[in-house]
Symmetry: C2
Subunit: 380 residues, 2 copies
């Protein structure tokens, strides 16, 4: 039997029991039962983001949630620094542009993450900057930004810090309150192992002070409208209630497993993938590698679309290609959510088989053996 | 065994095979398979709206889709007339206010729909009005607006007409192109018998001409970003792909059944409910009744929350109460989507049983007999 395994960095595989949970008969959302469920989701999101702040569910993609947070925090009179180091970072600069938000975009080399020094230098050069927007895990380049360090700087300088945590939250360490982040965003179809359709935002009290004073030109993405729903469970607009039922089950699983354990497992899968690549002479793309997604450089002479087509058609693994300038140059593997060592060993095996068929020279089995060594060290 | 039946005017019951269709393993949306599916959905939406115009799917509630259409059509320099005859109509005036859209709200008595004369008089009084926003079926009051007539007027005067068809499209006659409507909106959780989470908009070429010239301050609800996705199947932001798979199946069912047949059945269910109410001395609330939802006036001496609580707890029927000023005064029954004569006979039976238990005096069985007569006339 041919099996299909989804290794794209979102959507990710959804556990079978969550798929069936969402297939339950439809109920109404203006009921005590729904409100209880939504409040439980909110509470579990606080655990997920490691915050006592308000956690909000938006029916929409991660972009809708990020836009609500950015626009809410960046009223006229404020100026944002957008660190632009990949395709998703570019999108947040586009949000600023669309809304006429006063901002400066700081371009970093793709494959690198932002460091404290980058942000400090930009803030030194422009005293109007009072908001910092970064991508924790830039999915397009698999680069990790130093959120903890930059949040510390923002706390020192009184700036509001907004973090796109779409492929970070629930996969790699995120400690919103301890680090001092003001708005953290994620989406359902990543480490939360749900279908797409929900965006989540956690907001600090510092951010609310700014948001409540600002003017928001929108109804659907007006984050203020969602604030009280976090307490009452009563969404301002009809919520995607089947996805919310899935979210409750997914978040319960995450809490039961424990975030620290999940972070460790994700890190192990990433390490195994990097070690496997190294063992077969394939380069890891990013300089500042993140553990939720790995990008490998397609070896010279190998046709990237053919690689992805073959690994999917012959072996059932759907991996992602590159985006923007990286199209045709890299392939990406997710380590988020409902994926384990044995799935990962499978994708490494399929990658070896595919590269071999396409004429790439390497020692067969070196990749899986290298991954196995990482698992043997960690899983004991 | 106790059965649960959802009679709220959205969410509505979802067919079991659609629930399971959405429980299939997750796949990626940047694939030829997804694009084919999205294009099929687009084509089926054109049938649903009866238009050759562009049909767009937004991951969000109906409000997100309506906001995208309104804001897209109402750039500075244009002035909108918002007919305000219920809670959802009020929301579109709020969208205009949030976005500083030049507009006039015309208040009509709740329970009535807008007529050509209302709109003509408003336009005569203010020559700047070049956009008309109406609710086809005002879910909160169950009132029907004369969309065909008002669209004719808009065509005569060169105005753009935006119609909230959230509880109209797929339930009652909607002929977008024949009537000359420019933007028609609906949501997934009504006549489309899907869970909440998708909004749909159909846009005429006349509306595109205006939209393309305007400036949109948004990313997620910028309707322009969705335009090309209707042709390519490539959504601008991660789409709710499981809901889209459900939408394809639901729309295929609708096309197979035939819109005219669905409109006739919805109308029959509404008539049966009204006749049943009359037979037991319960008043129908709306003056201009719509066939997708029926509101009945709670008889004097009957406690409305107790009525709804009893009919749900004892008999498993979830009906809706009133909203805003109508809270405690009416109860509402959906006739949309996956509901038939026998379900409707069931809810009338349960209503009789509940009213009887709460002390209301009427001839037991008169309601179901009256409904049965309507079915006997229609189903032959």
């Amino acid at each position: 039997m041919k099996k299909f395994r989804l290794f794209t960095p979102g959507p990710t595989m959804v556990p079978e029991d969550i798929l069936l949970e969402m297939a339950h008969p439809i109920t109404h959302h203006r009921t005590p039962e729904y409100r209880e469920m939504a409040k439980e989701v909110t509470g579990l999101l606080q655990y997920l983001f490691q915050t006592k702040g308000t956690c909000i569910c938006v029916t929409g993609s991660g972009t809708s949630a990020a836009e609500a947070a950015i626009v809410g925090c960046c009223s006229p009179g404020h100026k944002a620094l957008v660190i632009r180091n990949g395709k998703f970072a570019e999108r947040w600069a586009k949000v600023c542009k669309a809304w006429d938000i006063d901002h400066t975009a700081l371009d970093l080399e793709w494959g690198t993450g932002a460091k404290v020094a980058d942000v400090a230098a930009a803030m030194d050069a422009d005293s109007k900057l009072d908001t910092v927007i970064v991508v924790h895990s830039e999915t397009s380049t698999t680069a990790l930004t130093d959120v903890q360090g930059i949040a510390g700087l923002c706390r020192e300088r009184g700036a509001i810090m907004i973090v796109d945590g779409i492929t970070a939250v629930g996969a790699i360490p995120v400690k919103m309150d301890e680090w001092g982040v003001d708005a953290y965003i994620t989406g359902s179809q990543k480490a939360l192992m749900l279908p797409p359709g929900l965006g989540f935002v956690a907001i600090s009290d510092r951010a609310w002070d700014r948001i409540e004073g600002g003017k928001m030109h929108s109804l659907y993405t007006d984050i203020k409208a969602y604030r009280k729903s976090a307490d009452t469970g009563d969404a301002p607009y009809t919520p995607a209630n089947t996805l919310m039922a899935g979210a409750r089950m997914a978040l319960r699983k995450i809490k039961e497993q424990g975030l620290e354990n999940i972070w460790a497992e994700t890190s192990m899968l990433a390490k195994a993938t990097r070690e496997a690549a190294k063992a077969i002479g394939v380069k890891v793309y990013a300089k500042d590698t993140v553990d939720s997604v790995t990008a490998l450089v397609v070896p010279d002479g190998i046709d990237e679309p053919k690689l992805r087509k073959t690994i999917k058609a012959s072996y059932g693994f759907h991996i992602a290609g590159g985006q923007g300038d990286l199209k045709g140059k890299i392939v990406r593997f997710s380590h988020m959510g409902y994926v384990d060592a044995f799935d990962t060993l499978g994708v490494i095996s399929a990658l070896e088989l595919t590269l071999g068929q396409l004429g790439y020279k390497f020692e067969t089995g070196a990749g899986v053996a290298a991954a196995q060594k990482v698992f043997a060290e960690s899983l004991k």
